[in-house]
Symmetry: D3
């Protein structure tokens, strides 16, 4: 069960509007590795975790924090979308900056969203729940969670270099710090799983069929093998005369 | 910013496993009108609401409650997925009930989800964020919210008639009650918006271009008009001889 | 069974080309609340309506009209796509207006669509049929239809303010008028359903299980409850030393 | 602009309900090669056709007919969905036939659709507009239209062999006949395009850059080439000891 | 089983970077008719082909070649993405060319892809496998393959006219030549299928139900029929007074 | 550039048909963590890798091997789809096993695919390219690759327990062995990246803004905080009387 308070986890305001950067920020909100993904992924992993206790609690607690990051970024996008040039006429007055914003912003922010954040990536493609995985195997999923935090922090660091706005940069620094902490945390949790004897690598440890192949197979296709690719297959050679090709 | 406690908003356990019904419950979790939709829809509407105060608070509070419904249904699905027949051999022993469960369940629950809930509808199609709308116009969105609660309650009532399990029925009764309350609440909020002078129907009230057509146009295509559909168009008549048709 | 005549329901031509606005118009053609949605939604609701007579007829008639709106907007988009700047070289001659059109248009209009309308939204995301609902409950669906007309009219009004082209504005005025009429019509149809004794709010009226909870449950999480969110969960505290965070 | 009359293009009723076959029929309604695809594809090709006259008319007329096929199949599905077993308890009474129907039907037909047709394929995946193409080149698109009719007729013929219901078979015979006629028609239209001097194969005829390569390139990878695939790449050999593999 | 060598099938480098054209090139990489589609389509058709021999081999060989085209275009896109303007500040210095690139490029190339190609179309919509068909009927599928090559060559020809870069044009010429060759090849393969007595048009040849309708049905809706469309349906007339419309 | 030979990397045939298991095998072919994902992911990571040499080669080589796994599984599915019960009449003869297969198989395998493999998951949802990531950061992507192999091996192990067919089990053992080898290989590659000084954890190592927050922020919402969730928000209390709730 969830509760909500009005304060943002971290409060930051942009120094000025920038609809083109608002479009870019959408990637870490509703993109594949954005905050909607980590929030929902950790929560589903937590709900599906059949082992009560520290791992289940950790997943639900961190997932709940990430919901607050969704909120922070959505709020920032809404603030950046003020005063955007909406028509070509506004964009036309010999001002390349305005032309760049007009071309680089997402018109759906204004037609569909009324100047608010959209649950989409930076190209307006809606977030979908196939982005998340809750496999029931904590080791496999904690590795995915390390990845998710790494991909997320990478994107935040790139966005940090795409803007000069101090207020936006401040929010991105906060997110970078949380992603650092969470990367380290999931790696530590992997070690904890091993220490607790719950799972080992390779996943799944429990598969013990004695007949698993323990070595790589001999390659069927060895160097010098004459059975090779030819850009004009035999049938094509027969079917086509030279002029057609 | 969000908080989480371990208790479910309403605690219910199934009397026994039923993987086929677990598949069906997914519709109100990750289907178009499921709990993921209302939770995210109300939260985005709240975050994008530029008017601080009671409407913004209402949206965020109800969205937060719906997150708890996602949790309840996910938990119930996980409980229903115990002991399902996983192989055809288990399903084969002259038992039509087991055959029905095997055929009627979702194999991805076991291969992909490890016996946990999936963020999908009853056919395994992932939830996607195009299911939600936050238009920036409270009147348009409150009407959508009435619809969402009505469609949701309709589905819950149908599911209520698809199971005999007392524990499952108890949870569905709870959800029906909340959907009743929320339908009434959004209808009341529509009236409140009007009383506050914020918006009227038709939406958007603010559009006041004097040249809007105020009457329906004359129909171009009137009864008796000879310009009508013929299942064999002229060119097709020319192109084809009778035998081909 | 359908017929088609060549005339548009309302004839309008743009005063000049504008590929960037053509992209924006796509939202009301192939977006979530565009004309493809209302056309298909009303038709499916009509086909699935098991009660012959006035409601079924209304749905099919209005759905058929909306097919004509799809046609009008598709035709307008095709007309707006003439003479667009296709290469960076064309966009480069010290002309911010051309740069804005180049950046603000959808390249798929020219590569994929050959200068014609696409069945997508303003970001090139294809329309999909999950946008429509035909639940078999007329009350739930008529409420959705009110919403659809409200969201649609809202978007048309916003587009009206994003262009100066008189011909385009004339077509938008026509669509605004039809959306006004249809909003009023679905609201009147809701009243008619009640008068006919077919359905009441909350939907579904027919659910009469005596054990439905009639009051909201006591909240599990009350003010002052110590079981609250902490951004550094216990396990994380254990797992990480200060420097890592 | 479109009109609609209540009669189906061809009237057929099933002899009895069959929810499992109703699910299968969805493939030719809302699947990739179903009637929603051909209807929308021909209409968009018609609207985008810049050449007025017989080709544009043909596209719009046949597209309009296909809308009537959508209606026929949707109606048939609704009729087949009567009296389906909705709960496991109904499916359990030692009756393999009922178990097969329960397992083989689509639960969304009852939870989401209220016993009506859905705009999806046989697995409940929503139809999407990326299934259609209107490229602006009639020759390319007429070839696609031949394909669409061939794929569609193939599916109808397969469905014909999956049911014994005489009424359903009668409707499928009608659709087979129309698909035969349309396959022939689009092939004839291809010939007509050539005769009219509008386009030739290969598409696009108009591309006349003198430097197009007129022969296939020499294959870079010739028989005996030592640069070949080895299932254990060099780095992997270095990285892993034998036991790990 | 597949092998890979480092050489591209055809080596070409752009004369200079152009992030806006890189976005456009994505259409023939990950768009509906791009190289990912033909590669996967031919491979699946080959794997599913139950008849060993020349047709199966042809499909697998050409599919394998197309994998090399995916590689060529992905490599070219990566090369075009160098040195793009990433922030509005870079795009602002009174330079419409830079503004056009900033607006016309895809920000996901830099945030998500790190300056590499994405498996998406020109609008950033991910490629999906519904783009491919392998129906098990070679005649139906070879017709689709002709179409795929025609649509693909059409798009390449259009892109050829959207750039002045000699290196890019050289690669496009190569692709045009391969598409010409493949269009001709699939058309010749259709003739071969007929000569081998394997399949005829209309597809499927094998359907021989004697009761198939051999003529088009009488149209139900004939010229002069009074049952026609009226933009204000009867119920709407009753429900609404004039002012409301 | 790619080559292809007819041999499978590992040859295995089922002892008998099983259309229901064929549906389940689709998960590791076209599901989120199936072979299409790893094949395309490694290839895109390789093509986008700007550093020539061992890492780029490794990615392309392993990606090429995974293409051969796609082929193996597609071939196995085609073999399992023989002799499936296609109609309810076949499924009805008092045989729960046949009923289970009828209900548990995917009808699209027969209507759409002609008895061949489909590029979809176990529920018929098409594979899409958003499943893959190539971020341009090798450390982030190698962690994802570990995850992909772990999730894949987990699914194969689960499928191993869902069938008794010796031929199918043999193929799954082969895949398990390759997934074990690849998990180990990507973990070793992560260590290699560190030894080569190319990247460290947390990703991205290169971000060195001195103002990154180095500690977690104080939680805004502390235990005992009175600003908490109440299932009946204030406005709702005002709007609704008790009976309505």
């Amino acid at each position: 069960m969830f509760g909500h308070v009005k304060d943002l986890q971290f409060e930051a305001k942009p120094d000025g509007p920038d609809a083109a950067f608002a479009r870019r920020l959408q990637e870490i909100l509703g993109g594949k590795w954005g905050e909607m993904t980590v929030a929902n992924q950790y929560l589903y992993q937590g709900w599906n975790c059949r082992l009560p206790g520290k791992y289940k609690d950790l997943l639900l607690d961190v997932g709940t924090e990430e919901m607050g990051h969704v909120e922070m970024i959505a709020t920032m996008i809404t603030r950046l979308l003020e005063n955007a040039p909406l028509s070509l006429q506004e964009a036309a007055d010999d001002n390349p900056m305005v032309a760049a914003i007009y071309g680089g912003s997402n018109p759906a922010h204004f037609i569909h969203g009324g100047g608010g954040a959209l649950p989409t990536d930076s190209n307006g493609v809606p977030w979908n729940a196939a982005f998340i995985t809750a496999s029931g195997n904590l080791m496999a999923d904690f590795h995915l969670n390390v990845t998710a935090e790494a991909q997320g922090r990478l994107q935040v660091a790139r966005l940090f270099n795409m803007t000069d706005d101090p207020g936006v940069k401040q929010m991105l620094r906060f997110l970078l710090a949380r992603d650092t902490m969470h990367q380290n945390m999931w790696m530590a949790a992997i070690e904890q799983l091993k220490q607790d004897g719950l799972e080992e690598m390779p996943v799944p440890d429990a598969f013990t069929d004695s007949k698993e192949f323990t070595h790589a197979p001999e390659p069927v296709l060895a160097p010098g093998d004459p059975r090779l690719y030819d850009t004009t297959p035999d049938l094509a050679d027969d079917l086509l005369d030279d002029d057609a090709m």
